[in-house]
Assembly symmetry: C2
DNA sequence: GTCGTTGCGTGCGCTAGCGAACGTAATGAC
DNA sequence: GTCATTACGTTCGCTAGCGCACGCAACGAC
């Protein structure tokens, strides 16, 4: 169940700021369009901008040996990309890949740091977001290790559903395989299982969520656990 | 290859501070003995103290369904326990389990926050430590998923060797199984492999590192990768 | 309509790790 | 010396996911 914050037609972190801080921050942002499959940065790259997604959403991946990789985070309109800047480090630890195209607010790195320095509310908000991100990272590590692919896939679809704000989104099995760190065939098999149970439908890269409830039942507890952590520290 | 910082007979984060900050911080610490197998805190617990290990080292675990669990971090004299306090959140995201007994510096949470506020050097140091911790978290997630148990075990032994600062330490297969998120038998098999190759020797809970070089060869690249991240952001 | 590309389905042999169970030797308490 | 406990060894059947390979239908470009 997405919290109110996520339902807002704006970035949740920004929306939660007091009016003055919010307006000052927004004044320094530019509105840009994220295009599906864009790679915003690679691990080790210098971070030149932070992103506050509004419509789009971004996967954080740790690449591994060229072809395979594993998703370790997902940034939608509840979060931001480039949070490590607030730790004073402008080197991206992850690959950032646009999973869902859409509008995003973008801000120059130096300007962001100035903004952060002048707004205690922003500091507090991002501190909490960083904490939640760390908790999710650990959760994902355990989930990836312990849970069956079908449950992990269901969880992934739910998390994406929350961020895509539409029942249908573009996503091939190949891409899902990269997120989940498995083979394409593995995804085909797991997705086939979910489709047979009428929880989703897909056709040539378009996935439709048919039954959220069913998906939640099929997903591992990690989805709920993540939601709880989020609501506790960033909810209203 | 442990960096100089780790070799020092003090906590590395504290040692790296300017003299005045260091002395002020140490004045607020008490020296306590960590006992093997102590559980310092459970996930969700309130954080009352931060710890800067000197001799001992501490595992960070995400529990799962009672019996199994997975290690997502390791804190030795290169790091600290309770870092999330600097994000303004006094709730532990992990279980903290003492893996190696020994001396540790401990500081009251509120005092730590005051200390942090007055020392920009400490802030910078801990910011960088937090960044490295996040990177390690992601690395561990990928490692746990992709690499074979024997390689993961080798990596774990190396990381522990770095922090134990002795070639022998107490550690049963059962405990290792909890760290690595696998069965006890799995550890027995993997450890048997390493022993047959004369890289380690063990007997009733005492593990001896015989050939570090060999272990490094047997470990997955994650060990080196972690070292590199550490050296880059916290090295000298 | 033709053709190359993309996205998905299927099948085959294989291995790592699982769960459960049992065995055994070392150790320590008494 | 006795006996329970601890720590490790081994076996058996099982399954999820792997790597590889081939097939096939939908789609877009022309």
């Amino acid at each position: 169940m997405p919290s109110k914050r996520r339902a807002a037609n704006a970035n949740g972190l920004i929306a939660a700021l007091p009016r003055k801080d919010r307006e000052h921050l927004l004044a320094g942002c530019e509105r840009i369009e994220l295009a599906f499959a864009d790679v915003i940065c690679e691990p080790g790259d210098r971070i030149r901008h932070v992103y506050f997604p509004v419509d789009g959403f971004i996967s954080l991946l740790t690449p591994r040996d060229g072809c395979t990789s594993l998703e370790v985070g997902l940034v939608g309109n509840e979060g931001m990309l480039g949070i490590t800047l607030m730790l004073g480090i402008d080197v991206s630890p992850f690959r950032a890949l646009v999973q869902g195209g859409g509008v995003s607010m973008r801000m120059d790195a130096a300007l962001f740091l100035r903004e952060l320095a002048r707004s205690p509310a922003l500091q507090s908000e991002l501190n909490r977001y960083l904490y939640v991100s760390m908790a999710q990272l650990a959760q994902t590590a355990a989930c990836t290790h312990f849970h069956l692919l079908e449950a992990r896939l269901a969880r992934w679809l739910l998390m994406t559903h929350d961020r895509a704000r539409a029942d249908e989104f573009h996503l091939t099995h190949e891409l899902l395989a990269h997120m989940l760190g498995v083979r394409r065939v593995g995804v085909t098999k797991a997705a086939g299982g979910l489709q047979r149970r009428k929880l989703i439908r897909y056709h040539r890269g378009n996935i439709t969520i048919l039954a959220r409830n069913g998906l939640e039942a099929a997903a591992c507890g990690c989805y709920r656990a993540s939601q709880n952590v989020y609501d506790r520290f960033l909810g209203e």
